[in-house]
């Protein structure tokens, strides 16, 4: 009987073996599941037989990826890309699994892989077709992207007419046409306010971007100039890497390359297990983190009344390291997604974990999807990190992503500490914020938007052997950099009135967290200009470790009607430098007495009008501390005082030092008196505390009578609704009556989404990709 070939039936034979891309991927997954080894690779035959060639391939490809990133980023004009390095390039095999990646924001190892897998699952090869010279663009958060401003370009790689892999490049663009300017906006309650979203769209053929795409995309964003150059950056990098792979194939042959493209992933899988066994202690680790969503405030303008409420995002983490060095990360009990832009896709959540782990557990260039295959994730459907509704907004997913992972940091650090690898212990990181954003007409008279990335240089957490680093890094970008003032002043119509270490922002401890920093900005030569704040204020997301305190929380300072134009003209004093102690305000002494000043904890706001000469304080957070603060050595506290890292009042109260200020205004710690004072502090602690079980009886009564703020009860109600296990454990811990319940419907706040939801998978002709246990 005559049968039509794949080509004749509308299925191009891209792999040259008669299988569709989905069939190929399914077979890889089946072999992996059946054997426990990636693609069934119980032995790394190529690596074992010819290790030199294998290593040559590794070095050449890895070097090429890094080189492409470093070269391509020079094309970009956006300081986010060019200064902060918010880009990365990754190479995938034909199944969409990552082989190797460049440096940079490597969270996108997973997010771009998820986009490729979505194309594979949904038969992109038949429509719109996959050919040599094509380009696909994706920023769709519902299929894995972190937030819409991360735009990725994906280019298929063919060799002798067959698809052998993919290369993806991503940049974080400054604006993508959300309802408010800046790339990580707040205020929209759903995807429909998040801005332009593109789902693996074919945007180029024959290595040329399509004109309809160029015209359409540029007019859908505010910062068209940056947008164009960012796209050229991604295309250039992808094409450099495609050329590199072609050269490798020419030199080494398709057989070796194909073996390498699978064995290196299995090697990555084994590598993670080896590191777990070499550095950790088997067992169960539990941690939790939270972040505030303070939307019941006048400065949160929402178009949708059902989003106007305070809530808390909840990320409990149970990490199990088994005796065979396999492990599972379980987030059961997390709260539900919400009507804000802080939701995250399951891939954004899991892939981001590798950014963190490459800084501790697997500090190696061989990070690839092997680490994913070595990890079991449980993320229940319906949680904020795995939404079950296609309407969710994700523009500022980082609001909680960065600190939701902090539980893993602390669990890992507990393990390193127990094992004696103290040099690896990290109490956590700052919840990297504030994100200064806004837009209008800039100093060049153009429609413009800003998202200042100084937050890439927050304080880091304390280690078990040393203090955290001051204003240095952010967990999501290990190459963090605050950027040059001169560059930011070109990119933003905002002059710097100060850039200083943020006093008292690092968490106290035997070793303190790194301090953040603060910059005071004055609006200058802008028109029709708005700005807003984006960060945590009412809560602290990152806890200290082993007796160390969390870092300080955020607060907001902005000033309007400052009269600074006249003060500058008349040579009067100006607000300059640091807001060193917010309870002893100084800026207000150098602006009009009738200025409108906002000093409060509302660190999330929507667009507010800023006139020229108005002020905005950008406070970048500190990191958490390690160990009991009264164990801190006196010389270190003395140094902190004289460097303005801590305020004298809190050096005395928290570190328990006895201090004096000499004639040269230098702080001196009296070591003998401090020792006596610290003995008293120990006694004071014992005197004021209760046995934990006694306190629990009091707390239980508050739970029985449901005495807590709405946001606290709302968080528990949504977590209970998604997880019977979490609810039962809660009730068992507090010994609550069997009929005790807490329902969203009793809270008196809008409960849209609590009962009626529609998942993306319910759309016609859509096959979603699930990469975690739900």
């Amino acid at each position: 009987m005559n049968k039509m070939s794949r080509n004749e039936s509308g299925w191009p034979d891209l792999l040259g073996n008669g299988k569709t891309l989905k069939q190929h991927r399914d077979e890889v997954l089946a072999r992996t599941k059946e054997t426990g080894f990636y693609n069934g690779l119980e032995r790394l035959e190529f690596k074992e037989a010819d290790p030199i060639t294998y290593e040559k391939l590794f070095s050449r490809i890895r070097g090429g990826l890094v080189h492409a990133r470093e070269t391509a980023k020079k094309i970009a004009a956006s300081p986010i890309v060019e200064q902060e390095g918010e880009l990365c390039f990754t190479l995938y095999n034909a199944a969409g699994d990552c082989i190797l990646t460049s440096t940079g924001i490597i969270i996108h190892v997973g997010t771009m892989g998820a986009a490729i897998k979505y194309m594979i699952e949904n038969a992109w090869e038949t429509n719109p077709g996959i050919n040599h010279g094509d380009m696909f663009t994706n920023n769709d958060c519902s299929i894995g992207n972190v937030h819409p401003c991360d735009i990725c370009t994906i280019v298929p790689i063919f060799w002798e007419g067959k698809l052998v892999g993919w290369v993806g490049g991503v940049t974080h663009v400054i604006d993508l046409g959300a309802m408010t300017p800046g790339s990580m906006s707040s205020g929209q309650v759903s995807r429909f306010g998040d801005g332009l979203q593109v789902t693996c769209r074919k945007t180029g053929i024959n290595d040329t971007p399509l004109r309809d795409w160029l015209h359409e995309s540029q007019r859908n964003v505010r910062t068209a100039k940056y947008w164009i150059l960012d796209e050229r950056t991604r295309i250039a990098g992808c094409h450099m890497i495609r050329k590199l792979v072609e050269e490798v194939l020419e030199a080494e042959g398709i057989e070796n390359y194909t073996k390498f493209a699978h064995e290196v992933i299995e090697e990555g899988r084994r590598g993670l297990q080896l590191r777990l066994k070499a550095m950790t202690v088997p067992g169960i680790y539990r941690r939790v983190s939270f972040v505030d969503v303070p939307y019941a405030h006048d400065d949160m303008s929402l178009a949708s009344a059902f989003g106007k409420m305070n809530s808390i995002m909840h990320a409990p983490c149970e990490m199990t390291i088994r005796p065979d060095a396999t492990w599972k990360l379980n987030f059961e009990g997390a709260s539900r997604w919400g009507w804000h832009s802080y939701n995250a896709n399951q891939v954004a959540f899991t892939s981001g974990i590798w950014v963190m782990l490459t800084q501790t557990l697997v500090p190696t260039a061989r990070i690839n999807d092997g680490a994913y295959y070595a990890t079991e994730f449980r993320i229940p459907k319906g949680t904020w990190m795995n939404p079950d509704d296609r309407r969710t907004a994700h523009a500022n997913a980082w609001h909680f992503l960065v600190s939701a992972w902090s539980g893993i940091w602390r669990g890992m650090s507990q393990s390193f500490y127990a094992r004696g690898y103290l040099e690896e212990v990290n109490a956590g990181n700052a919840n990297a914020c504030n994100w200064l954003q806004g837009g209008g007409i800039n100093q060049d008279g153009e429609v413009h938007a800003v998202n200042n990335f100084e937050t890439a240089a927050c304080g880091t957490g304390a280690c078990a052997i040393k203090d955290g680093l001051n204003h240095n890094a952010a967990v999501w970008n290990p190459e963090g950099d605050m950027g040059d003032i001169e560059i930011w002043e070109m990119a933003e119509p905002l002059l710097y009135m100060g850039r200083n270490v943020k006093t008292n922002s690092g968490g106290y401890g035997k070793f303190r967290g790194g301090c953040g920093f603060e910059t005071l900005r004055m609006v200058w030569k802008a028109q029709d200009w708005t700005m807003f704040f984006s960060g945590n204020g009412y809560m602290n997301s990152d806890w200290g470790l082993m007796g160390g305190y969390p870092s300080a929380t955020g607060y907001r300072f902005e000033a309007h009607k400052t009269d600074l134009e006249a003060r500058i003209r008349d040579g009067m004093s100006l607000p300059l430098g640091a807001d060193r102690n917010p309870q002893n305000t100084q800026y207000e002494r150098h602006i009009s007495a009738t200025a409108e000043v906002k000093r409060d904890k509302q660190c999330t706001t929507t667009e507010a009008i800023f006139e020229n000469h108005d002020l905005y304080l950008n406070y970048l957070r500190g990191g958490p501390g390690f160990g009991d603060p009264i164990d801190r050595d006196c010389a270190s506290v003395e140094k902190d005082l004289n460097s303005h890292f801590v305020l004298p009042e809190f050096a005395e109260k928290v570190y328990g030092v006895v201090i004096s200020n000499d004639q040269d205004d230098v702080w001196v710690v009296d070591v003998a008196k401090t020792a006596e004072r610290r003995k008293k502090i120990r006694k004071e602690r014992i005197a004021r505390a209760l046995p934990t079980r006694d306190w629990m009886k009091e707390e239980r009564e508050r739970i029985i009578t449901k005495h807590a703020s709405v946001q606290v009860r709302h968080m528990f109600a949504t977590s209970f609704d998604l997880s019977v296990k979490f609810k039962n454990e809660f009730k068992a811990f507090w010994d609550l009556p069997a009929d005790w319940e807490l329902l969203e419907s009793e809270l008196g706040v809008p409960s849209f989404g609590s009962k009626y939801r529609m998942d993306l998978s319910k759309l016609p002709d859509v096959r979603t990709v699930t990469l975690v246990e739900e």
């Binding site: 550095m279 202690v281 088997p282 067992g283 169960i284 539990r286 941690r287 939790v288 939270f290 505030d292 808390i312 909840h314 088994r322 500090p363 500490y417 004696g420 690898y421 103290l422 040099e423 052997i465 008292n504 009412y538 809560m539 602290n540 806890w543 082993m546 007796g547 160390g548 305190y549 969390p550 300080a552 929380t553 607060y555 309870q583 000093r599 904890k601 603060p629 164990d631 305020l647 809190f650 928290v654 502090i681 120990r682 006694k683 004071e684 602690r685 014992i686 505390a689 209760l690 046995p691 934990t692 079980r693 306190w695 707390e699 508050r702 807590a708 968080m715 454990e729 809660f730 811990f733």
Partner: protein
């Protein structure tokens, strides 16, 4: 495989190791003998001679009571919190910062959490007053049992050290 002297591990624990060696520890493959040397350093610094099984915090250890041979959680001052499998925090003292005034004692105005959202729970040793942990949860949150190590697997299969006797 890297190797370090007992003296270097001693300095590491004290936080006084030179940066060059610290960098080597960070960048090179881990030294498999570290745990044994680490225990030796810690054991020599304690005022008691019960055998340390596993350090779990800066001043907390799972230790073998030398008389009963039971494994317990023990403070560096000697105070015992009971069976090592139980959450030691339940046997500690706790001070909860759940008012603005209590928060104001440790942070400047505006730089502390709002206690309608978050409280700080400070867990102290009832005997010496050491602050072993600061939890920062919402009100109502259960006391977190942070760590349940699989010590048998760790000793037998991971670090290959003789497992100390256990009576409980």
């Amino acid at each position: 495989m890297s190797a370090y002297t007992q003296e270097q591990v001693n300095y590491l624990v004290e936080g006084k190791l030179d940066w060059e060696t610290t960098m080597r520890m960070l960048s090179m493959p881990k030294d498999a003998d570290r745990f044994r040397m680490y225990l030796a350093t810690l054991q020599s610094s304690l005022p008691w001679d019960d055998k340390i099984i596993l350090p779990i915090s800066l001043h907390l250890y799972i230790a073998q009571n030398k008389t009963t041979k039971e494994w317990v959680t023990k403070c560096s001052c000697g105070h015992e919190f009971g069976d090592y499998r139980k959450n030691w925090k339940l046997e500690a003292l706790v001070y909860v910062r759940d008012t603005p005034e209590a928060m104001r004692e440790v942070y400047p105005t505006l730089m502390a959490p709002d206690t309608n959202w978050q409280v700080y729970r400070e867990y102290y040793c009832p005997e010496c007053g050491t602050m072993h942990d600061v939890e920062a949860p919402t009100p109502w949150y259960p006391v977190i049992h942070e760590f349940e190590p699989d010590i048998e697997a760790f000793y037998n299969d991971w670090v290959h050290l003789p497992l100390p006797e256990k009576a409980n």
